[in-house]
Amino acid sequence: MSPEFIFETFLDLKKDYLSFSYLGNIHDEITDMLIQLSESNIDHVAELSKMRNKVSFLMVESFQNIVRHSGNIPVEGNLPKPSLFQIRNIGATYYIASANVIPNVKTEMLKNRIGRLNTLTQEELKSLYMEVLSQEQDGIQRGAGLGLIEMARKSGHKLECFFEPINDEYTYFYLQIKMSGKKNPSEDEINLTIESTQQLHSKLSGENILLLLKGNFSQELILPVLKMVEENMSSFVNVHDKNTFFVLGEILQNIPKHSFVNEEGVKEGIFFMEKFGEYFAITSGNYVENHYVVDFEEKLNAFSKLSVSELNSLYRKYLREGNETEHGGAGLGLIDIIRLSNCNFQYHFQKINEAISFFTMRAVV
């Protein structure tokens, strides 16, 4: 992944206050993490705060819809793209999107069901929901469309779907739910089409990305992601030891340490976890103030010339002397990242203007 790709993706998601994409095996265990993740940032817009529970509910429904429909499909490795689960918060609007593989025979049924739901008013959706709910269970298939009805009802917007054929047997089913905290959101808040979601999915998949997180980097944002990765390590391929987890944590926490704080008080950053052959590449990108760059670059340059044993000695020295810089780091954390990645580490500074540069770093573990 090039520094250009990182910055370009960051700019593509410029308007996103939170952007989270998860590509891979979708299973039920990350539900709790998703709720925490969305709740970590929802209070920044008053209108969104009021619909906190609805957003969480819709995420869970969307997520479980993938799990529900993913039976009897080819394993992820044999597919052109892994499944996708995505949350994007732009202004007072939340988008929840999913993409998963379905057998072609289900395509028409889903198209018709969603098309029909989209013609119904809120009152009609409520009646339909009550009708389905009041039926005794016998003879009703699991699911029975209740999840889709609830998505349409609770979002208050039409459900968007898109079908991308894979071959004679299977199709990618994209479903996007929109929720607006304001009755009349500004135009740039509502132009996220499902086609653009499909394009982003292809772009991320093309770079073997498993996880993308863009947002206001704070401990509240980082903790659920760390928890999710920790709990899902076994589902990722060839994790040799705990190094991946440590490096991931250090890189995630390094973003707020060095990040430029913009006029809204936001420490904007982007983070990727990518499958890199037998290994993982962990990448971050964020703005830093130019007056830190010289010192920062010098330090990184010096660290990256050292061998692992030299880094180990330096690490112990820093630990003993408590050698931390006034900028809250550029010390232990970075040494840790470089030595744990076995010096497989790159960094890049791109000057944006007189005040700030875009800093990217990438470690393979």
Binding site: T31, D32, N53, Q64, M130, L133, E136, Q137, L146, I149
Partner: protein
Amino acid sequence: MQKPLYIKGTKDCPQVTLDCENQIFEISGRSLPEDSAQFYAPVEAWLESYVKSPNSITEFNFRLDYFNSSSSRKIMSILFELEKIAKTKNAVKINWYYEESDEMIKESGEEIRSIVKIPFELKSYKAPVVVKPKK
């Protein structure tokens, strides 16, 4: 007397207490299991047996923070089972608790109340105040 059923809550499954001796019938917390049929199977089995010889008064509490659509089916199934008690000389009542600002759980309670044919009361409560440690 029927043995009590106790299921400890997890991050995505609710806590269940069904205890006829102490007259506690409660489901609380989050109900988000993907496979709600599996989670609720012992609850349904317990209730199926209980309604054959229930206490003279059964007060059943729901204190849910979240529940997914597949759980809503199971909640209905529990309520349909409890309706059988109302058809006997025994009494049954549902208390549906919601945090006072939680419109979604409140609305769900109102909808479910309109479907079932047993006394069903919506009760609000104040969220506990969380004190964050000073940094």
